[in-house]
């Protein structure tokens, strides 16, 4: 018979070790379908490593891929800290991206030193507005934000498609549903010549640092943690629970909006309806893997981007499906969830047969 008892105090190595171990186990488990696909596992993983660390270009591609994941990961991590389940980062990302092209593709023609901040701020504001609606519905009427944010994703995506066929459509696009490109001076500066990695990465790193500091040290972070850990006690102690929730909702939406800004104004240059391959949802995995720590989000975003980029390059080299990357990411999430359980509970086997001495 198996018994599950809570551990008295999870050790420090548990909180650090469990995510790392989960990632390793996930990679090991991914070897099984890889072997079934007929690939030589050592060669395959070698190709994967080469795809990330094999060249400066490969590494810069991984950083490029990690950038939006850091934004959406931070969006999820902050909201989840307050137990506000924002599943709508995907939609908020598109709102940010739409704001970026609406303002950046010629609507205002000012020098880059004004245009870039304008695009960044308005993009974040658009994402924040997208999260303000569900937050208001939750604090005012008690509507479950999981449902509202999730469903808003689809509404926003359809809205994007409508705009790309209408108001935002590029007249020069030869009929393709895509927006006009962001003006050159509105693009986020590149970090390395001839590489795609852009300064959105710097912004994400800075924001992660600020978030980490504010969460640990500020009164705002104190209130947020109190609300997330025990809303009843927070309320009893005079903390404005709804106000805290609304505040973090705005921030979370804004961060997700920045993911859209960074993809459009940092990488693609224009908006299409397939801008994001699910960055908003992957951000949830990133945040969970990071144990909802902002600095952890940076590390787990790098890990997940490595898996994606590495698996892409492996699938090209070996001729196996690149869906293996999705598989590894999903498995690391499952492993982390199981790992988190193991960290919190002790599972013991008891012998009941000879219970009577």
């Amino acid at each position: 018979m198996i018994r599950i008892e809570p551990r008295t105090a999870p050790g420090r190595w548990m909180t650090l070790g469990v995510p790392v171990l989960s990632a390793v186990i996930a990679l090991a488990l991914a070897a099984i379908p890889l072997a079934l696909a007929g690939a030589d596992i050592t060669v395959a993983y070698g190709e994967m490593v080469k795809g990330v660390f094999g060249s400066v270009f490969a590494f810069s591609e991984m950083l490029t891929r990690a950038t939006p994941l850091m934004f959406t990961g931070l969006a999820a991590a902050l909201a989840f800290r307050a137990k506000l389940w924002n599943i709508g980062a995907e939609g908020q990302l598109y709102l940010g991206a739409m704001a970026a092209v609406a303002i950046g593709a010629g609507a205002v023609d000012v020098p880059g030193i004004f245009l870039v901040p304008l695009i960044v701020i308005l993009g974040a504001a658009a994402g924040a507005a997208g999260m303000a609606v569900p937050a208001l519905l939750k604090t005012r009427f008690g509507a479950d934000e999981v449902v509202t944010t999730l469903l808003l994703n689809f509404i926003i995506l359809i809205f994007v498609q409508m705009m790309l066929e209408g108001a935002l459509k590029d007249p020069m696009s030869l009929g393709w549903p895509q927006s006009a490109p962001v003006l050159d001076q509105g693009m986020l500066p590149q970090l390395m010549p001839r590489m795609r990695v852009h300064s959105g990465l710097i912004l994400a790193l800075v924001l992660a640092g600020i978030a980490q500091f504010m969460l640990a040290r500020s009164v705002w972070g104190f209130r947020l943690r109190a609300v997330g850990e025990n809303a009843a006690a927070a309320r009893h102690a005079g903390i404005g629970v709804n106000r805290s929730l609304f505040g973090v909702a705005i921030l979370s939406g804004g961060l997700a909006g920045l993911a859209g800004v960074s993809e459009v104004a940092g990488l693609k240059g224009y908006l299409t309806a397939d801008l994001s391959p699910g960055f908003g949802y992957t951000g949830i995995v990133v945040a969970m893997l990071a144990g909802l720590s902002p600095v952890g989000v940076v590390i787990s975003a790098l890990f997940i981007a490595s898996v994606f980029v590495g698996a892409d390059s492996m699938s090209r080299a070996m001729g196996v499906s690149s869906y293996l990357a999705d598989l590894v990411v999903s498995m690391s999430l499952l492993c982390v969830l199981i790992g988190g359980f193991v960290a919190r509970y002790r599972i013991t086997r008891t012998k009941t047969a000879e219970g009577v001495a």
Binding site: T8, R225, A226, A232, A237, T352, V356
Partner: protein
């Protein structure tokens, strides 16, 4: 009372990590006997009973139970099902009844075959009726349990155990939720049941009832059995000394002249759609240098009253004055600022954020204080100094000020809350069940602090279901029943008890 043994616990031990919950505890129980199991919180009473009932697997020791023909047989440990079929029944403090089912259905629930096509309701009813006739435990069988009173629900729980032919009945703090009169009735019923040969173990910390209704008393302290005594040889002092290992300080309440009103509630009404926990035209005044005790059976509006004074619930009508000023838009922050210190009923749920540190929990009510924060950043050294001071002054013991607050024991969590409340120089202290679940040392500390605040000029509002606690601390007593308050001038237990039951004499 016959002398045949029905149960023996032999050197049962249980450890949780490094904590020894039970260390080689042995107990015998005889046919028709009422054994009271006494001990402070954390003494290991519940762990012991959980091992008996198969919820926990002992680390050592064994249990023997008499079969129906009187032969002692070893009990398979760690299996509730084995305990049930050996005739052990348990009534938990928190009832485990399905509220939407009738009393009869609740009684038969779990003892019927899962896949039978027909249920023998008539047979079941006859059997329950027989038990009710024999023991005097009467409950309306066809009423949904949700509509029954707490006392009736408890009888349903006991009937459920007897229906399963329990010969040993464990009652975990059975009187905690009852009025004194209901408690007396319960003990009369227990008397009838033991006359039938049932053996009863009852867990309690109310010395008065233990002395009045048990045959034998076993006392646990720090996981070991420190003594066993025939009730006829015991008195309150002897037992209290066995429980804590020393004489308990008696709280000394000096007479004081009440000062100006610090809290006035006028015409407060709170309506709840469910009808439970509402308040009807509540008027009360607490003066400086005075503790007002609110006695009553749980669920009669105490939570609503406490929520109103805490600022958590805005009354539907009526006015609140603190220290002479009307509070127009009560919320927790306004009430704290107005000088209301709140000791919540559920300290784990409302009192602390368990995942945050002791130091953080000590400042959580004054985050706007410039001593605690500068320009929106927490003042960490001031927070640590504050925590060190308060831990010292209020004797909060635990793994340290940076440890998570949930690692503290119940008594220390309460001391943390006391430190937070009293350190802010509250004008009014709302203490909702401040002693429930605390060991004697911590309870004495709570009483001492309340009286100290009273001496310093604060007013106290003490809400409690424990009449002894109210009689010991309160200068004036009001009884809450069905959302209404009535002042009682008598300090007679019987009179107050009748008012608690809603009888107007």
């Amino acid at each position: 009372m016959t002398e045949s043994k029905v149960l023996s616990l032999n050197a049962l031990s249980k450890r949780f990590g490094s904590v020894v919950a039970n260390d080689a505890v042995s107990l015998d129980l005889h046919c028709g006997e009422v054994l009271a199991l006494l001990g402070e919180n954390g003494a290991g009473k519940t762990t012991l009973m959980n091992m008996l009932f198969g919820h926990y697997m002992p680390d050592g020791g064994s249990i023997d139970v008499a079969s129906p023909d009187g032969e002692m047989q070893p009990l398979t440990l760690g299996h509730p099902q084995a305990a049930l079929s050996a005739g052990i029944g348990m009534v938990h403090q928190h009832f485990t009844l399905a509220e939407n089912l009738s009393a009869l259905d609740n009684i038969t629930l779990g003892s019927e075959p899962l896949f039978a096509l027909r249920r023998d309701r008539a047979g079941a009813r006859a059997k329950v009726q027989g038990i009710m006739d024999r023991t005097g435990l009467v409950a309306p069988l066809d009423t949904p349990v949700g509509k029954l009173s707490v006392g009736e629900r408890q009888r349903v729980e006991i009937l459920k155990a007897l229906y399963r032919d329990a010969r040993i009945l464990v009652l975990d703090e059975p009187t905690a939720v009852l009025t004194p009169q209901e408690a007396d009735t319960l003990f009369e019923n227990i008397g009838a049941m033991t006359g039938d040969g049932l053996a009863v173990i009852f867990i309690s910390h109310k010395l008065r009832e233990v002395l009045a209704f048990s045959h034998r008393i076993a006392v646990l302290r720090h996981g070991t059995k420190v003594g066993e005594i025939a009730t006829s040889d015991a008195d309150e002092r002897v037992i209290a000394r066995m429980m804590v290992g020393e004489d308990t300080p008696v709280t000394q309440r000096d007479a004081m002249t009440p000062g100006a009103p610090v809290l006035t509630l006028s015409g407060i009404n709170v309506r709840n759609p469910s009808g439970r926990d509402s308040l009807t035209d509540v008027n009360l005044t607490v003066h400086a240098h005075e503790i007002l005790g609110i006695a009553g059976v749980s669920g009669n509006g105490q939570s609503a009253l406490a929520s109103v004074i805490s600022g958590l619930r805005r009354p539907d009508s009526g006015s609140i004055h603190v220290d002479g000023d009307e509070i127009l838009n009560p919320d927790p922050k306004t009430m704290i600022k107005a000088g209301v210190g709140r000791i919540p009923e559920d300290r784990h749920h409302d009192g602390i954020v368990g995942a945050m540190s002791v130091a953080e929990n000590m400042v959580i009510e004054r985050l706007d204080d410039p001593e605690v924060q500068t320009n929106g950043l927490m003042n960490r050294s001031a927070m640590a100094a504050n925590a060190e001071n308060l831990s010292q002054a209020y004797d909060v013991r635990g793994p340290g000020i940076n440890a998570r607050a949930r690692l503290l024991s119940g008594g220390n969590i309460q001391k943390l809350i006391l430190a937070r409340v009293f350190e802010q120089g509250a004008r009014l202290i709302l203490a909702n069940q401040p002693i429930r679940g605390l060991d004697m040392g911590a309870a004495a500390e709570v009483s001492r602090r309340l009286l100290e605040a009273r001496a310093a000029g604060a007013g106290g509002l003490l809400i409690s279901e424990d009449l002894d606690e109210i009689l010991g601390l309160a200068d004036r007593i009001m009884v809450i029943h069905d959302g209404q308050l009535t002042e009682v001038t008598s300090r007679n237990r019987e009179d107050i008890g009748l008012k608690m039951a809603g009888e107007h004499t």
